[in-house]
Every structure is written in C-alpha cells, then in structure tokens.
Amino acid sequence: MSWLPIAPDFRADLKLALESPDPRDCLERLASLAQYRLGYIETLQLDRVLGRLTLKPESGFTVVRLAILASSTIDHLPPPIRVAGLRRSLLIDVHTGAYGQYRQDLLDPGSSLHQFAPQFILFSISARDTIAGVPLTATTDEVDETIGRSVDVLRLLWRKARDTLHATIVQQTFLDITEPVFGSYDRLVPGTPAQVITRLNDRLSNAAAQDGVLLLDVARCSERDGIDAWFDAGRWYQGKLEIAPEAAILYGDMVARIVAAQRGLSKKCLVFDLDNTLWGGVIGDDGPEGIVLGEGSAAGEAHLALQRYAKQLKERGVILAICSKNDPAIAESAFRDHPEMLLKRQDISAFVANWDDKAQNLKAIVTQLNIGLDSLVFVDDNPVERARIRQSLPMVAVPELPQDIAHYVRCLADAGYFEAVAFTSEDRLRTEQYAANAERGALLEVSGNLDDFLASLQMTVVFGKFNKADLVRVTQLFNKTNQFNTTTKRYTAEEVASFAAAEETVTLQFRLLDKFGDNGLVSAMILRPYPKQPEVLEIENWVMSCRVFGRQLELEALNIAVEQSRRRGGKALRADYIPTPKNGVISQLYPSLGFSPLSDKTGSSSWILELAKYVTRSTHISWSEGAR
C-alpha cells in the first residue's frame, strides 16, 4: 500500500472522529483517514469506529452489500474491505456465513445469506481439498479430471448464486500455499501440489471467462509480494486463517477495487507532470535536447518505461492528460520533435502547460474532458505539488511516488486505480473518441453556429433492443455513467439480460455515428409498464455517455422511445429523476423534453408525457434501425 501517504497522527485523528457528535462529520473524518496508509491494526480500529455509526444511506456514499462464502476463517477480512470501500466513498456491508457452511447457505432459500440479498458474492475457497484428492503419481489426465470436478462444483455454485440471488460473482484465485516436493523438478510432475494449483487456476480462469465471473487474483498478488506475505502457517494453525492478517489490508483494497469498478468508480484519466516525471531534467532550462529520456541512460530508460506503461493504459481506454508548469510551446515541442518520446501529442487528450496553480489546471482538464475530478490520478515527482493537490482536491488520487523513477511504473500498477470488470471495443476506441471530440470542437469553432455545426456532423443513430453482443457494454454504460443517469440504478449483466428478455419491457440501445466515425454505444433506456397502468410505460432508467452531450441525441432518443411506446399501444410515458451529487446536469431534462411534473418529493421528482400530444422533435440525426 506504498502509494498511500503516511497518516500524520492516526491516533489523534481517529479520536476526533470518535468524539464527533455528528455521524455525518464522523463518517467524513473516517473517509479522509482511510486515504492514508494504514496497518492491519489501525484498519481494525478505524473499522470499529465505523461500526459504531448507525448508517443511513448518506449522500455521496454508495451502499453495497457483499457476501463472502469461504472455506477458511475470514473474520479478519471484512474490516479491511469496509475501510477500502470507505476510501472510495463506498459503504460496503459485508456478510460472512459460518465457516465452511457456504454450500448450505447458498442452497437454503431461508438462510441469512438469502435474507441479506447480496449484490456481490465473493467465493474464497481453499485449494486444500482439491490437492488432497490428487496422488503424487497422478497422470496429467487424472489431474485434469480432478481439477475439472472441482471447477465444475464451483460453476454449479456460481450458477446457483446467480440464479437465486442475481448477484455479481467474484471468485478468488487459489493461493499456492504448498511446498516443493522435489524442488525445481516439481513443474515436470503433473501430480505435485504446485502443478495442481497452477492448472487449477488456469481452468478456473477459463471457466470464469466463460461464465462472466470476475476474479480476485490473490495468486498473482502473492507471486508479486511473496507467499510469506500472504500466507502465515502459524495463523493457519492458530485459527485457520488462509489470508495472513497483514495481507488482509491489500486483500480488502483489491475487493473494493472490483466493487468500485463494477459501480463505475474506477479512475478514468491519468494526469502526468512533465519535468522529472515523463522525462528527466527541466525542459525549459535544459532544452529539448538536454532532457534525459530513452536508451543510453539508466534514468532515461526508466522515464521511457513510464511512457510505455502510460501508452499501454491508453490502449485499454485510460485517458491521458498533461498538467505541467512549463511554457506550453516548449512542452508541446518535446512531444512533436523529441526522437525518444514514445508518447505523442495525439496520445494526450488534454494538455495543460502554464504557470498557474495545478489544482486550477486539473479543474480545467476535467471540464475539457467532461469527467469528474474523482476520475483523476495525478502523477507528479514533486512532493509539494502532490501535497497541494491532496489538500485542495481530496477527490483526486495522488500516489505517493517512490524516490527513484525506476519504481514509478510498479507503484502505479500496485495502486490498482484502473481496475476493470470488462474490456469492450468501446474501451479500445475511447481515447480516439476523445481525440475525435477535440476535432469536432475545432469544427464548431470554425462554423460558429451550433445548428450548422450539428448539420455538418452528418449524424445517424443506430438503435434497437439490447442485444447479446452488446450486453457487456450496455451493463457497463448503466454502471459507469454518473452524469446523464436519470435514476442511477445499477444492474448486473444478468439483470440487464433479463430486462432484454422480458416480453413487457422495451429496451433501447443507441449508437451514434457521424462523419468523424463511430461514437460507440452511447445511450441506453429501459421502459416497463407502470404498475396497474399497462398503457403507461415508465422509464426505469436512461443513461447517456458524456461524450455525446449537446448533440441532440436525447431528443432523438425520446422520439424513438415515443414511437416504440406508441407501437405498444402506450398512452403516456412516466419518468423519475433521482438526483445524486453527479447528475445535476440533467435536473431539467424531463421538463425540457416536454414532460409535466407529477410530484416532487424530497428532491426526486416524477414526470409524465401524454403521447397523444407529443410532437416529434426535429434534429440533425437520422435513423437506422436494427443493424449495428
């Protein structure tokens, strides 16, 4: 957890939180304390104070229910999971069944597990039973058969959990807690415990990919940290703890990363300083030819490795930005002219170089990209700048970097800011789409007139009901969209699939094309009959990516929704707007679309649109139904 800064005075700050008379204030104090590097014991203490709060759904915090089904003792895991959740504004309610009882809990509809109604189920199962079933003399086929049986049992449990509880399933990979029997020769004998675990993890990963199950890869982590950091034989004998208490902190953070990723709370954008970060030296003083970068210098190679890692992240959809105290012309010239620069100007979606305060510049970057400050990771070698950002913009993640540039990449990777629960074609295209957005912006400046601009884009909307091929993307859209999100209800892939399959439900997905290319699948809507009024369809949820704001897509989407509803014999559309700290941008959406107010109860509001009176809006978007 080296990327988190060290708490100045944990004991005193915890005491302040504990003594705070106001639960909201206490919670916020705990959440800021959770941003620091806490040991196992400090984590337990923080969690104990958190446990004393009577938690109502607090605005700004998301409540998530997670159940852990385990074959070993896990009493020490919930506190680090809750604290890591708090670090991400998540209040994770953790349910743990009785040790070893997970099969019964899952199969019995009256169990406390079923009453808990988890949104996430984490399977934390030891490899011990499987290993015990394989004799050292087993052939490859025999090993595969035993492993296959173990994995099949898990798949049955996954299916059961999914069918009965509709939860997102997370499976922990198997820790290699075994010792060599031969030594290096172990890898050449299929029946050795280490080989069984290796093959078991391979088989497990394939099954998880097929079944849409997420993995919590503790096996990979223990390879990185060493098995001694993760497994302590003493603790196993004392209390059947398979995860060492000291490793529980990272375990908790990894669980919270997955929950956050599923809820769209992973970071989206990596912001780099330039001097002594992306390259060595100060370009303004040393000149472009004087900076340290590239082959021939150890430090130059390390800076280049950081650029290479950034480029990899960009390829998976992380947005890159620059925030540097520099002369903008000189700073940009390095990207254009320096032969060793791996990152090119077009890799950078927002480029800010000036002499202003970096906190102000980060705000300018999020405005330009239309994302939230809490989507940023700010990488700067200067501890003063880091401290300044942490203090003035606490929602920005600022990793505490190692002294040596050689270890920057590892530090960024360890921090797990960009955990994912899917990798779609949209992700691959995202940075190009941001670049294309910049081109569109340039066109708007040229044409000056918004209407001419929209006409010149030659937009087409491709729509249809949710289809299987786009299910992952539609789910991702519902879960990652925070701004244009009318109800901010989140769904598992299974729930989205069941909306699509239900006869009475109308599902709509929208893809927007224009002359610059495919903006991707950018909006989705679910309509369902309003209880007891089948002629009224209710917009259960409607989301739209911020990439296409201001393009009239909301008007055209409503035209389509009205048309689809009329085909069903619908007389009216009903809709709720549930405000959150992030969806204020659409607070006037429904009135602006011609809906009339029904009610306004404590912030959330209900709206109705009589279809008989609806006049189709004219936009610059043409229709193309069905095809992708």
Binding site: Y40, I41, R48, R52, D75, G234, G239
Partner: protein, 80 residues
Amino acid sequence: MTDQEILNAFTRILGDLLLDDSIALSMETRRQDVPNWDSFNYINFMVAVEIEFGVKFKVADIESFENVGAIIAETKALLQ
C-alpha cells in the same frame, strides 16, 4: 524494557483494538476477564504485539499463555 512498560504498552494496544479506554491489564489478567477479548481479537492482539515489538511468537506459546504476565515474560525473552 521493564514488565511495567510492556504492560502499559499491552494495555494501550488492547484498549485501541477494542476501542475501550476502561481496560486495565495486570500481570494476572486472563483473556476471559476482559469483555470482547474473543479468540479473533486474541489473534489480533498477538499480531499487534508482534508488529510493535518486532517479535514473532511460537504457535505452541500462543495457545498456552495463561495470562498477560506469561505473554510479557515471553516478549521479554524474545527481545533479548
């Protein structure tokens, strides 16, 4: 370190762990004498002491410590 210094540290560690300022350990205190000092928090206490004092207890000792005084004696032995 004297017995009393270690005892004071133990009292602070357990009080922090259980969020209970009223805990006053003595050499004779046994686990069942302290409310909420269950088996889970016994392991947590051991982890905390091991981290703070930089020692590692043997599994055989952990399961047979009779009272706080025995833990202090073993801690002193490990520190030497």
